[in-house]
Amino acid sequence: MGAAMPDLQAAVDDFCTKLRRRQVEGSMDTAKFTALLLRQVISHQRIPPSAQASTLIDAVKSVGLRMIDANRLELAIGNVVRRVLHIIREEDASLETDGVTGINLITDSDDENDGYNIAQSGVSAAAVAAANRSALRAPSLHNLLEWIPSSGATTTVGPTITDPEVRSRSSDKNSRSWKLKHSVIEGVNELLNDIENYHSQVAEQALEHIHQNEVILTQGRSRTLLHFLLEARKKRSFQVFICEGAPRYDGHILAKELAEADLQTTVITDSAVFAMISRVNMVIVGAHAVMANGGVIGPVGLHMVALAARRHAVPFVVLTGLHKLCPLYPHNPHVLLNDMRSPSEILDFGDVSDCLDDTTGGPRLRAVNPAFDYVPPELISLFITDSGGHNPSYLYRLVAEYYSPEDFAL
């Protein structure tokens, strides 16, 4: 284990370098890598008998902060770090309640005769567990429901499906530190699974939102969007307008992919958004990050699309995974949450170099090429996430459910 630590450090460094160099981009990839690394961190972390949770939390935090610093604009890193921290806290809390309620509860909680168990273990124990948890977590619907079955072991986020084998072993060994680590890793695995498969879960909802002969406008390319549209294509035929999404021009790629799936696809310039939006039934876009207030950080140009959609009362739907949900509220997101890409993407130096010869006192030309746009929540009609559809105004609630308030500021 000790030998593995340098390897881990190297892996983290390598990942950070890649982040800095923007070699890893896109919220899904970064989120996945972050989760993998954090899982490694957790599994390699030696856990002292006392203050197990806090050592884990510290270890995750220190690595997490390094990664966040490597690319502060990739909010998914911070989100995953927070999610992992949240898992640790949850597990810790559940273990504590386990300590109170005893092992019986854990082994039998999944059985049919829950009521009997409750009666057996006594209401007081359940009450203590609930009190413990509510002290740790903000009140949530989960908590409210948990009052009744007192399924202390079935943690909200973590391993709801713990196979009986593990559980029996855990009960056998009854080593608390091992158990904590194990269940946290289970939780992280779950999270990874979520990240990797969220688009299929989002795509499953496609048929609820796309009807026959719909005209859909989108901008740029996102994997979620591709899956979503392809899923809908299985049952319905509709038409898609794609803004090419300068300066990435990934709309071209999406157009090709969709056309290959026999979808009527039309590529338009970004400037033609306003012209076309009046014939569009729905705007569906992917997002880079979702803020706690329901605002969206998306590829540059998204704000324009959203404004046009609002003007023509076209629903503006954002597909997103929950790992993109950031617990922070944006302040001046146009500047603070934006990335400046190379000007050469929009302007060749050679195009204007001869005009800049006689420069006297400071540069006269700035070529700005921002990477992101912020879309305020009032322009967004709906979020479709892997946990279902949500209104922008509800996102704060999801934040409370998936993050611990202690971790908002890392």
Binding site: F241, Y249, T266, V300, R311, R364
Partner: protein, 693 residues
Amino acid sequence: METRRGARMVIDPKVRQVGFVTPGSELGRPAAPEPPGAAAPVPVVANSPSPVIIPLLLIPDTSSLRTTPLPVPSPPSRRVVAAPPADDSMPLGSYNPSDAILGSSQGSSERTGNNDKHGSAPTDSLADMSLSNASTLAIRLEGLNVTNDGISNVLSTSTVRSAVAAAPTSVEHAFQTSSGQGIIGSVPAVSVDMAAAANPQAGIDPRPMPLKDRTSKAERRAIQEAQRAAKAAAKGVGTDIAAIADGNVANEVKSSKPSSQKKGLSEKKPAVFSDKKPVVSSDKKPVVSSDKKSAEKASEKDKRKDIPAPRMQFDDEQRVAKAKRRSLIEQTEAKNRVELFRHLPQFLHGTQLPSLESKFFHEDPLHPHPSVFQVGLQYLTREIVGGNARCIAMLMAFRDMINDYSTPMEKTLVRDLTAKINSHVSFLITCRPISISMGNAIKFLKTRIASLPVTVSEFEAKHSLILEIDRFIQEKIVFADNEIVKHAVTKIRDGDVLLTHGSSCVVEMILVRAFELGKKFQVVVIDSRPRLEGKGLLRRLLGKGLHCTYTHINAASYAMQGVTRVFLGAASVLSNGTVYSRVGTACVAMVAHALGVPVMICCETYKFHERVQLDSICSNELGDPDALVEVHGRKDVYSLRGWADSKHLHVLNLMYDATPADYVSMIITELGMVPPTSVPVILREYRKVPYVM
């Protein structure tokens, strides 16, 4: 229609009064201030702040060149217009008997005609040949027993001969006119003429309507009576003339006519042919008191089917097939057309060019005039872009065409020229759908042609038309731009950050002018694919020393932070306040509106149009879709290559979009700064002034 409106305007004082509404007051005035305006062009253009007119550089010299000779011949031409009945009574002379002016005008016009011929005899002959006159010419030459050995040969000889013959005929003319005076001294006509002559301003002012209206009822009756008397006096000739008017018996006329004049004229071939025309057309007059009405009707009909019908619906298969059969060039339609835009023409770019180029030297009677042809090619290759530039190029080409025009036998100038312009316009449309500004200019030109009195000589008609074209360019575009710049500059303060989209020549002039005035401001240039016009603007502004920020349209929301004003150009402003402009304008205006930045549209009033439009789909122009496939300097973007092979993949390159009026804070026109709701007001006031529209 126009004439009626003009008349009503004068007769009904109430209508006139409406014109005193702010914009109207300027509009209603032209009668007075116009003469100075017309006289002014030359000096003003000469010393206009040259750096300001970058894109229009071509205008000053040409216009000054062309306007200088014009003031001389223009007064008589107008006068003839003013008193048409007087000269139709004269069988022999083509002009009215106010000697002094007559002599000079005749001489000068003759001289200019000669100069033209000497200067550009070969081109003239070529042009004429291509202008479908060749055949008629040949026929006429046969009739006159001139040896006909190949058209080109004849033409060359004829041009030479005409140059020789020019001098004698001018003398002959002088003689005839003086004799004409002897025959009928129609007093009222003369008095009118004298009035016009005494008032040099009115003479310069080439507006026929007001002058015409100035003749009182009594005067008109007197004129008519004089006509009748003259008709009776010159009855023998008169019948022949009637025959000419019928046009069927042209040959007979030739033989029976006072041969001296006829021969002298017809020998003079292409260019001088224009001198012959007056005789025919003025002769025609006596018969045409009813005929004129029909002509008017015809012109009205012409107006109704006004060629600038960019609204042809291209999803109507029958009509498309018909248009294809008629069109000059083979056009292949683009594959994979977007369903929504089936009603718009979309042809494969580049397929026409080779066939057009090969046809450049064709001697086809339907072949367009070389200048028009050239302009058409330039449209096709996008060498000339931008509403003003295209409009000016077109008008200049038409100017050349009119200059080289001569009415074929048995046709009237008004109808034939209108038809000719129609065919040329449809040629231009095949090159690229015409813009609204061009449509307006064409409409203007055709109105001018239609309102030419039948009596006016061909030479003078051409002159007056050329003058009108020059005036249109000067007043409606060059001066208007200067005025707009003057207005807009007042809206720029130190410390401003101005944003513009694409490359509008007016906006560029504004920015440069403000910079020259020493204002401290920054410019944000927003550019959009695929044309990236903004790069050109950026280069020019940087070259001038302005501080610029450049970005693409997707970053508009980002770039809009901190911007204090948005200046945008427009292709047209429609009467519901919708601004029809290069694609992307609506997006920029929308973002500006959302962030509370005032949006100012700079647009000359000649681009205003009565049409209304709510979206950008019903009427638009489709660009070449292949332009979207590749991105300059980006090798990694290639996914769309071969898009046409995929049945489901379409690429749409829209050229225009419609900005709703509520995004527009104000429209800066040469008449001042108006809200978009005032556009219909300006249009209405314009319609009253017969000058335009």
